[in-house]
Symmetry: C2
Subunit: 408 residues, 2 copies
Amino acid sequence: MTTTDLRIDIDRLLHRLHALGEVGALPGGGVCRLALGDEDRRGRDLVRGWMDELGLRVSIDPIGNVVGVWPGAEDGPPVLTGSHIDTVRTGGLYDGNLGVLAGLEVIETLQEAGVALRRPLAVAFFTNEEGARFAPDMMGSLVFVGALSVEEARATVGIEGATVGGELDRIGYAGTAPPMPVHAYVELHVEQGPVLEREGVQIGVVQGVQGISWTEFTVHGVSNHAGTTPLALRHDAGLVAGSMVAFVRRLAREIGGDQIATVGRLRLHPDLVNVIPNRATFTVDLRNTDEAALQQAEARVHAEVEALARAEGCTVEHRPLARFEPVAFDRGVVDRVEAAARELGLSTRRMPSGAGHDAQMLARICPAAMIFVPSVGGISHNVKEHTEPADLEAGANVLLRVLSDLAS
Amino acid sequence: MTTTDLRIDIDRLLHRLHALGEVGALPGGGVCRLALGDEDRRGRDLVRGWMDELGLRVSIDPIGNVVGVWPGAEDGPPVLTGSHIDTVRTGGLYDGNLGVLAGLEVIETLQEAGVALRRPLAVAFFTNEEGARFAPDMMGSLVFVGALSVEEARATVGIEGATVGGELDRIGYAGTAPPMPVHAYVELHVEQGPVLEREGVQIGVVQGVQGISWTEFTVHGVSNHAGTTPLALRHDAGLVAGSMVAFVRRLAREIGGDQIATVGRLRLHPDLVNVIPNRATFTVDLRNTDEAALQQAEARVHAEVEALARAEGCTVEHRPLARFEPVAFDRGVVDRVEAAARELGLSTRRMPSGAGHDAQMLARICPAAMIFVPSVGGISHNVKEHTEPADLEAGANVLLRVLSDLAS
């Protein structure tokens, strides 16, 4: 039997997804396993137990990243797959978990078929990908690739005051494994967006991750009585903010391509029906796969808010909240993903990832790419997150094929 | 000495304004005397004491309106002046208080000069004009003119659970005076807006009160990931709300005249930087002295929000918060105010009131008008509220002259 005829066992994969989903399960469905909390520890223990059952060599590094390695015929850096098992407060069963458990399923499928690969094949789950309890997100993979020091990561204080280091020690996941070279990295993930479902496409061939620019703007005006202050004498901070909400949508349409723009947060002060707002705070989230276009969008947002504020006699200040350049995945690995899907008779679509993933960190140290499967309704970070079993199966089979190729 | 040569004593008026301002004084300046609270009782007792000292016949009606009548040579309905002495939580020394204490000052000036008027002259302070603790505002004058029943007013529950009736009984201001016919009503008030100061005008001749239309709109969209949801697939409730903020300003400019429009309150849900808002709630405050124009503005706001929601695949619902038709003051009394100011050598400007005042309720039962004096910086409902003594004096002298005319 050649590896091209192999298929993963969807029932076994679903069984593991549901078993892990019971750890930290929420009453109405969904799951809450915030990074390094007690539920995360129980989830880690469960997945580690499965790694042991598959005979993987499990190592834990100082930030709590867990890697299970299945040795190959030759030594050398492993072909790595994986993702994360921490969740947001109202998370689903698939975000992150799918990539980790599909990795185990691929190894079990290969082991059952008696396949021996040339290179080691490994499955990782990275610490605190979500950033829901400790900032920044993708912390484990950032440390894994050497972009964030263990000391700095351990010192991070979470939303309720505990530190990453303290929690790692408490749950027993502060390991000692040294940095690990990686031959290539492929991550299977749910799309978390509506594109694949909307277009009826089975596999998203992820070419890269959009660059992200988050800025918080605060406009300062003057509060006055909404009934006694003529229009010409107003300094309405809310008007500047509201106009910017409309502007960023126009801007994104105008720039076109992958450009998207969102005002997700907006607050007025004093927020009273008959008082002209003296302060408006809002965020602008800009994303593009092209760094030059992203910079152009940023410049136009700043120019527009300054012009609007000036016209209204307001002042404006801004605070950068996050900035990541776009990441382009390795063309060779991306092509392999596309080829594997097509060989399996699956429809494909090249696309960027709009969300951040551990794969973008791994791309700094090795050829990397991602495989997306459809999210029903595009819903994620929500207890209603769902992906159909047939799509989970298709994605895992693509992963099986790509990992087998890379490790042969 | 004829009454036209009389002038009020600004020092005596200032003394009373400051004495009343010490009741419920805030540490950093300003005052808090919420309607029917302990500070309001102490303020009422103080002003009532002054009425007693001037020999006025004091009556208290069932909603706690207090009227001090100085008898005239003939019986019959009094010429009434007044305002309110309750304040907002961070109120100033002049809003309301000026109209009441200037009324007392006018009577004391006339008494000292030995003037005997034909008609009774009376000063009132009306209960709960501000509405800061109990809704609606202008409650006392609403009951005074028979537009709200005592029973309904007493049953009103305030922001911390107490009722108007319970508080009236507790502070001893539930009186028994029967409804009082009024010959004419004139109210002196600070402008609470920037127009007089900006134009260097001393006296605002108030022709009426703007009609007010307050509506709360709630737009329902769909929350989705700001990074993974293409523009074309969004149902962004925040975009509709933001676009409306910009629209109402354009609309007010386009309608012109007295039309003003404000979005003072706006909230997004879930209000997160990287989540498309699935709900946006905002208020629209429209004001115009012309009822037809106000209705046109309302219709255009509704049409625009419906169109914007439809274009974004959102739905919208609305809830009326308040609606008052414009009030036109009595031409005869308005003309007298203007003439009196000019005879005193004061500059005048005819203008509408953008805020609500007890005078608009009194206008339902008698000829009524108002006199405005400048507010420094247009600031009101704020501890920084200020009017220059020279302007207080000018306003009170106009009041003296108009009341003397009306009562002769």
